[in-house]
Symmetry: C4
Subunit: 153 residues, 4 copies
């Protein structure tokens, strides 16, 4: 009954190679007790810059949904379908994050739902807004002076 | 009658160890005259990232309240109860910050109330929004180039 | 029928010389197939700080329009007229970017129109807001400590 | 008839000494022709952090007014009175900045009025929001790693 709060890791694989943009990695773990989570059943969901932008601009009564295939363009394409849906709570106190991971070969369908309060969403929005220009590599492009400072004689 | 404006210190103990998030420390001092404050009776209140997020997203007619026990999970748990309440001023010109520190052993109850204008709250919101990604350690994670610049050969 | 998403480059020629402000360069390429663009017919449009500010503050039902002459104050003044118009989509799902480049000597008029979703515009707004103080050179002025770090003994 | 656009300089005297906060300096020059300004009659107005916060949070139909005495707490106190008033344009297209500098000894009263478009105000708001945490010195407090990077062995 108690929620699994999302914990955040961030991949920045695109920072120095601009045509591969960075992502924000969301980690979801099922709750197995008060403040205990089942890390073996954790699920990852890598938000793209546009998906981060969607969350950042989400109105208080709006929802959004993202579909990912972790094996896109490989022989396993279509085997796993990840869906992340964010819907507003009916009492206006925040959002519900629904993650669904369907594996058609293993015939499994993991689901995790996490309520996120307005305050938690403000933290997420602030962190995401901070991250966006970095995901695009703009911090590198506009601050060339940092390049110099990293190679003292 | 004149308010004690909050002065800000910041603990950043979580910056390099991500699982201990940073906080924003609020310092409250009772006024003992025009622009003079009683520093011996100062009270501290360490806002967590989520509490900072709550303040940042506070609507102009919304209020919020935080409860802290500085001795949580120690033998002194429950002895001191700190409450910080932020409520909108009725004329819409800002907020009132109410801090209450109850010590059940000393049987004391210190109270400080500080009006904060809309302009001051804009400064607070701007500084808090700036601080949030740093409290989570995202600046470290997304800017690995700084790591390099701090250890020249 | 599929849009040509704008890709972004940034000129920061004004960063160290404050009276020549930076710009944000928009690159438009006609689509010649799914995810293939005609880079030989690409068009550039350099947004000034005020134009970036206009986009950042654009309401969801507002539009704006910019006129550029790349040869301003040269003998070729008036030969090429670039117009960038941003108009809201009627269903409120985002904006349409219309670029028109008229060359009176070659008697050509290239046009590119790109729909930009609300999420994509949030990415643009976030990146532009991040960039604005840097376009003005404020990062240099307010962070003199970086100067020091770039010249270790 | 044409406006004198404000140009911005920034004093950062408070960056390393936190109890003297930084300011944002506004420079006003009367127009003496198209894009020509009378630099000998320029007027400066140093906005405090709270005044910057007031501008940043200014609603589109709100106004604000600041009073400065550059000789406060000196023998010349009261001789010069500077007033900066920002009022919304009636057509909602931006704001008017009115600066008045009264010198009771010289019996002069210089006045400059500058219309600022919504786009220009967005640039100002973005730059001011960027500057605010720096004016308070929070960048120093929350980024101690920069200290280290400035003193390589």
């Amino acid at each position: 009954m108690y929620p699994v709060p999302p914990t955040f890791n961030k991949m920045d694989s695109g920072a120095s190679v601009v045509d591969r943009k960075g992502t924000v990695m969301l980690k979801f773990m099922p709750s197995i007790g008060p403040r205990k989570y089942d890390s073996e059943r954790k699920q990852l969901f890598a938000l793209s810059a546009n998906e981060v932008g969607c969350l950042v601009s989400l109105g208080s009564d709006e929802s959004c949904e993202f579909f990912h295939d972790p094996s896109l363009k490989s022989s396993l394409e279509g085997q796993v379908k990840k869906t992340l849906a964010i819907t507003p709570l009916t009492d206006g106190s925040g959002y519900m994050f629904h993650l669904s991971v369907m594996n058609s070969q293993l015939k499994t369908n993991e689901r995790v739902s996490i309520p996120v309060t307005k305050a938690e969403f403000a933290v997420i929005r602030s962190a995401f807004t901070f991250a966006l220009p970095h995901l695009l590599g703009w911090d590198r492009m506009i601050l060339p002076q940092f390049e110099g400072s990293s190679s003292p004689a």
